[in-house]
Amino acid sequence: MNEEKQREAVEEIVGSLSPKPKEVYYEAAHGIFDKMTMNRFVTPYLLRELFTPLEMEMVLAMPATGEELAEKFGMETEKTKEMLNRLVSLGRIISSRRPPFTYSPHMNAIAFRDSIGVGLNANKMDWMPHIKAIRLMCLWVKMEYDERLAKAVKHEMRVIPKYESVKNVPGVMFCENMKEIVESAVRERQFVAARCVCRSYASYMAEGRDNPNHCNCLQEHGSEDGHCFSISRQAEYFATQRGAYCPDEEAAWKLFEEAECSTAIYTTPNTRDTTFICSCCADCCGLSEYEKQGFEVRKPSRFRPKVRQERCVGCKMCEKRCAYEAIQVVDGKAVVAGGKCLGCGNCVVTCKTKALKMEIVQPPEWVPDMPYVEGWYLPES
């Protein structure tokens, strides 16, 4: 967004642009947070909502331990830690879990956005008293299409197909096999589930309240929220620091089943090493906002549905369930538009006549060992 637009939007949210945020917020913006956003005018205003000037000074001195910060700011150690831990619990900063217990700022825009929301939810707080911060946050992470930017964010994430859609397909890699991922995580007690922060954002932004029925996810998922899955090392973090729920085996499989039959699209960072799986459906997912703008944030899975013509009865169920208009019934038969399809499997799992069958269309190298980092950086504005 150009600066003029940003100004207007900020003014609309905070009332008036003056007084300007204190110098320390600009310092933090330039030193740390501006690198994450294209909307740099917003940064200091957002930071002012999230941190007191003293807290902001401390963030600027991070990474550091509680002891180091206490000494630097001439404060009592216990008091300092209390203050910092509150910020951690609210998702505003991060702390390591083992000695020397360093505190650090968030370094990734979407992770920061999510963390703020998760923090409020974990503390069972109403978002309305913080709504300015929430609205500024949404503004801050917004992007308008531009080619360089599109390159920077392309394929950072990847779609994992619904297990049910590939259970009869040979050659499904471990990192594409939801059942095995969940199985092994549950076995190691490294599987946690959290409430969907995207839905909270969408609901508060549109209605000014946390309406569980704001989107269809919940009815689809089942009665309760909680299908944001963290795996392995991130699971421990979300369980210990963000109040995420560590289901027992039975509960884990229930959550999995619910996610399976919903129109959620399993999305994970584009590496073979699965640390979390977002199961948002397209109507409130943070990523689909970007996709609507034309950013290809999600890399399709290696799978595509193939239509077995003789079985298709043209019921259009697949068409209804597809978030990308990638499958359409033409002359009574389903037709897949290969270029639009992300291979999520949502159409396959509900095909009553089993006319849709997944096929592998990409080699294993499609899923990189090396996380995607080429376009990791936002262009300088």
């Binding site: 990474p63 991060i94 650090s104 964010v153 950072e156 294993p364 990791w376």
Partner: protein, 308 residues
């Protein structure tokens, strides 16, 4: 600065998962390239450890009598050879011993159960760790990248019973450590009786050849159930002796009902029968032609790389 998430999934800079690649705070292109290098090195260094719960080390091939266990073992070994993997094959079937012929070997290995462990043979046999290259002729036979040992047959029913042989096999499979790019294959006895002896529990993967017969399907279900109880991570079927698409679909559906994944199909092939009839070996090329795709699928599922 990343828009989304840390490339190694660390929660924070300086946290225990942080590999200090510096990517999250890098500002310039040079810094970014340096970070990428650090990540690449880390990935290489930790590959084994990261994949240790996914990699296939030891495979038990189980199924109904005559369903094609030995045939599958031989085809798999040959296909793996073509794909760049060595195999150490344990013939634990104490009732028939034709596997060496299928593997194209000139002689059968001398059964390990006939070895005098207190003699000189005990020395190499009891070396720790137990690796395939410790085994010496005539107890091992080699052909290409394939090695075969056999546990032994009961020649005189008064001399030993199958149970003891099973324990012997178990010791070997427990202790053997596969080398780099090597896989242990165990050609199991028919049926599920051997499951009680617990060879499978020492394996990370169970493969079941399933032929178009109700008994074979049913037994696959039993194996899957028992393997689940033992906590074996990967159970996969291979459809064998399939004559047409209808049989293939039927078997796929039946397995799917029992929640058994499959790797592919071996059609009913005259050439397999002819080779078996004459006691000829399966060449790696033939194995690759016949079972190459399903072997690749098996490796893909375990995210293991191979030569193409």
């Amino acid at each position: 600065m990343g828009l989304f998430h840390c490339p190694v999934g660390a929660m924070t800079r300086g946290d225990e998962e942080c590999i200090h690649c510096g990517l999250c705070s890098a500002g310039t292109a040079e810094e970014r390239i340096r970070s990428t290098q650090v990540i690449r090195e880390w990935l290489q260094k930790t590959e084994k450890e990261r994949n240790k719960n996914i990699t296939i080390f030891k495979v038990a091939i189980c199924g109904k009598g005559g369903s094609g266990k030995s045939t599958l073992t031989a085809l798999l070994a040959g296909a793996l050879e073509e794909l760049g993997y060595a195999t150490f094959i344990v013939d634990s079937d104490s009732s028939n011993g034709g596997l060496w012929k299928k593997l194209g070997m000139d002689e059968p290995p001398k059964p390990l159960s006939q070895m005098d462990e207190s003699g000189p043979d005990g020395e190499w046999f009891n070396q720790s760790p137990m690796i395939s290259t410790n085994f010496v002729e005539p107890y091992v036979r080699n052909k290409g990248l394939k090695s075969l040992v056999s546990i032994g047959k009961i020649e005189n029913p008064l001399e030993g019973d199958a149970r003891e042989m099973g324990d012997y096999a178990k010791e070997i499979i427990r202790h053997i450590v596969p080398l780099e790019k090597e896989m242990i294959l165990v050609d199991q006895e028919a049926g599920v009786e051997s499951f009680g002896r617990g060879i499978e529990i020492l394996c990370d993967t169970v493969l079941i050849p399933v032929e178009p017969s109700d008994e074979s399907i049913e037994l696959a279900g039993k194996i899957k159930y028992m393997a689940g109880g033992l906590g074996i991570r990967r159970v996969r079927a291979v459809l064998n002796k399939v004559e047409d698409e209808e049989q293939e679909e039927y078997l796929q559906e039946a397995l799917s009902q029992m929640d058994i994944r499959f790797l592919g199909t071996l059609p009913n092939q005259k050439e397999i029968r002819s080779l078996n009839m004459r006691g000829h070996g399966f060449s790696p090329k033939f194995c690759h032609q016949t079972a190459g795709v399903l072997t690749q699928m098996m490796l893909d599922e375990a995210q293991m790389k191979y030569k193409r």
